[in-house]
């Protein structure tokens, strides 16, 4: 196998691992924002989920219980967001920010009190983590050049949550574009009055949307702490929720393009690690900080209208009042 192939496969493999939480959070944001609820709280929900997963997995020794805890905690935070923004018509950005700050403080405070390890949770091993799965036939085709390598190294050998993350994209697409729920969801994000006039509860629709968002952020959190890593580390979400939000906007609030944006941003991150200290031909060494900032810069450039136009759902950020 050539060196290039090896490097390419390992970089793409890293891309998949890095993109997984981005994809889950971007789909979470898609449900919420398509229903008209701004969700900058992706980061906080994911962080809280990561802590819950690691804490419960450490106590019970079961990764699946950890995943369940992550999802429950994340949904609770999503419901808090809904309670503030849907029921009490609060400012959605303020509420999302509150959730992020709350998660950042609570995870460390509770972590120190419960585990006495400076905010970390105990290292997990065995069944307390999600381990990589070898897809059927992976060993058999390993020797076939190119295609076999790609199947064995790139597609096979990830943990269950990675496959779940990639599955959420078609599922999200199907839910949003092919079902009655999806049609109403998109409608409520564009024109809630019309949906209300048709006799459908705007509140309940939006609540269901934020619950979907909570569910997916919880999985993303569990992935961080009990699949990709073996414990919770303070601030381990490290801005991934915001990158996912950027990817969602970059993907113009559509599942397929958001997936591509997540993969692009994930690839950039994988490349940053690989290019650390390696001079490129013609341009020399690219500063790692520039690579890290690229997703944000690209999103700003997109928002400025230089790469196509990102049009947000029409009624996003506006609380719905029936009285009008």
């Amino acid at each position: 196998m050539s060196d290039f192939m090896l490097i390419a496969v390992s970089t793409l493999d890293a891309t998949i691992r890095v993109s997984t939480p981005l994809i889950l959070c971007a789909m979470a944001g898609l449900f919420s924002e398509r229903s008209g609820i701004v969700d900058i709280g992706l980061e906080g929900k994911m962080l809280a989920g990561a802590f819950a997963a690691a804490a419960i997995a450490a106590v019970t020794g079961s990764a699946w219980l950890g995943l369940g805890a992550a999802i429950s905690v994340s949904i609770c935070m999503a419901l808090l967001h809904g309670f503030a923004c849907i029921t009490h018509k609060g400012n959605q950005v303020v509420s999302g920010l509150a959730i992020n700050i709350l998660a950042s403080g609570l995870t460390v405070t509770l972590g120190i009190a419960w585990f006495h390890q400076g905010g970390q949770t105990p290292l997990l091993s065995g069944d307390a983590r999600f381990f990589s799965i070898d897809l059927p036939g992976a060993l058999a085709v390993a020797d076939i050049p190119v295609l076999g390598t790609i199947y064995t190294q790139l597609i096979s050998g990830h943990n269950a949550l990675v496959y779940i993350a990639f599955m959420t994209v078609p599922v999200t697409w199907w839910l949003v574009y092919q079902t009655r729920f999806g049609l109403r969801l998109r409608a409520v994000g564009e024109n809630p009055q019309a949906v209300d006039t048709a006799g459908i509860s705007v509140f309940w629709l939006r609540y269901r949307a934020v619950i979907c968002a909570g569910l997916l952020c919880g999985i993303a959190g569990a992935y961080l702490s009990i699949a990709q890593n073996a414990s919770f580390i303070r601030e381990m979400s490290a801005g991934k929720g915001y990158i996912a939000l950027a990817a969602l906007i970059f993907g113009k609030w559509r599942p397929k393009t958001a997936l591509l944006a997540c993969l692009l941003f994930g690839f950039l991150e994988a490349l940053t690690v690989r290019l650390e200290g390696v001079p490129l031909p013609l341009i020399g060494e690219v500063p790692a900080q520039l690579m890290q900032a690229t997703p944000y810069i690209l999103t700003v450039v997109l928002l400025a209208g230089f790469i196509g136009k990102a049009i947000a759902p029409k009624s996003i950020g506006i609380p719905y009042s029936k009285e009008r």
């Binding site: 303020v94 920010l97 959730i99 700050i101 609570l106 801005g239 900080q289």
Partner: protein, 371 residues
């Protein structure tokens, strides 16, 4: 559901107070949850923040930062803009302050340098706010998203500059050289020493006076100038502002630049004052605390001073608390901050109907009694 049913003192006094109390109540539950006594925690916090001279110095030093960032958020809020980018603007503003000070500190004392430093910091902070503002006003992208992105870009840029450009030769840690002693703002200890009063040493410096001056200026700007009138009108009803002949786009850009410049003044307190150099992540979340401060202070300079003092006390008291009670760290302050933003910001309308009902009942009963 009009605002007229409640008198002003309930609307701006009682309701925010109840919201803050709710936030503290929930914080108390969090302390109970981790097995400590909330009352003891409050006691340590108050002792830490106000119990001794050095503690008071630290409290006021934190307060200074929060006044700047709180004012920055408030000015933008009045125009209906939510500036989450205070953190990045303060960071880049500090770079401006640092660069100006480093180029002039060899031949200028602080009192000659300070106007230049303020101008440079304000220019850098305003420039960092200008791009999101321009994109909001002229290209229709949302200022919330772009300022979040600019926070991350600022952070990456500053890491790059500190590691590769500004780093003190021979030093391992990414920070610039220390400014000349004469160029660093005098601390309050020095100021009081001139009058023969001896106070404890702390990072508190004369930037506190700058913060108070900024409060007065913001108050004058918002309520006593044409620009302030246009800013508030845009926040109240942008359509009406357009029809009354206000150039809303230009005003939005100017407002955000003022907001960025105010946030940048954190650089005066830190880079030219307490730290005496540019260092990594020196803003340390003050930009986000500014949001809590502004929400709690109802976007009014007086409210912001009170809220900043409270948060300054929380930060300093939190440090003391984590020192005295090992199972509690300063992250508890972050929790309280989050809860304040939740109750005073996102849930600010929650208790209003209840208060309205109670008030009407009480009021109606009184009316009847009078008849």
């Amino acid at each position: 559901m009009s605002n007229k049913t409640l008198p002003t003192w309930i609307d701006v006094g009682v309701i925010p107070l109840i919201n803050v109390c709710l936030a503290f109540l929930v914080s108390g539950f969090v302390i109970l949850l981790i097995g400590e006594s909330p009352l003891e925690a409050v006691q340590w916090m108050i002792t830490g923040a106000f119990g001794y001279a050095e503690g008071i110095g630290y409290t006021l030093y934190y307060t200074t930062n929060f006044i700047f960032t709180g004012l920055a958020v408030a000015v933008a809020f009045h125009a209906g803009l939510f500036n989450i980018g205070g953190e990045g603007q303060a960071y880049i503003g500090g770079l401006g302050v640092g660069l100006m000070c480093m180029s002039l500190d060899s031949f200028m004392p602080w009192w000659a340098l300070i106007p230049f430093a303020i101008a440079a910091g304000a220019a850098f902070g305003a420039a960092w706010a200008f791009i999101p503002a321009y994109l909001q006003a002229y290209r229709g992208s949302h200022v919330v998203i772009t300022t979040i992105m600019f926070n991350f870009i600022a952070s990456a840029l500053m890491v790059y500059l500190l590691v590769n450009v500004l780093i003190e030769p021979g030093s391992m840690s990414p920070q610039s050289r220390v400014l000349a002693d004469a160029a660093i703002l005098p601390s309050m200890k020095d100021v009081f020493a001139v009058f023969g009063v001896n106070i404890a040493n702390s990072p508190l410096n004369i930037a506190l006076f700058l913060a108070l001056i900024c409060c007065v200026l913001v108050w004058l700007l918002l309520w006593h100038t044409r620009l302030g009138y246009s800013i508030r009108m845009i926040g109240f009803n942008e359509q009406a502002a357009v029809y009354s002949g206000i150039n809303t786009r230009r005003t939005i850009v100017i407002t955000m630049c003022i907001s960025g410049a105010l946030a940048a003044m954190v650089g005066i307190n830190e880079v030219m004052g307490a730290q005496g150099r540019v260092l990594l992540d020196y803003v340390a979340g003050a930009g986000f605390t500014g949001i809590a401060v502004s929400l709690m202070g109802r976007n009014h300079p007086v409210g912001i001073i009170i809220a900043s003092l409270l948060f300054g006390a929380l930060y300093q008291g939190g440090a003391e608390l984590s020192f005295e009670v090992p199972s509690i760290t300063r992250d508890l302050v972050v929790v309280i901050q989050g809860l304040v933003i939740l109750f005073c910001g996102a849930l600010s309308l929650m208790i209003k109907p209840t208060i309205e009902k109670l008030f009407m009942k009480f009021f109606a009963a009184k009316e009847r009694a009078n008849v």
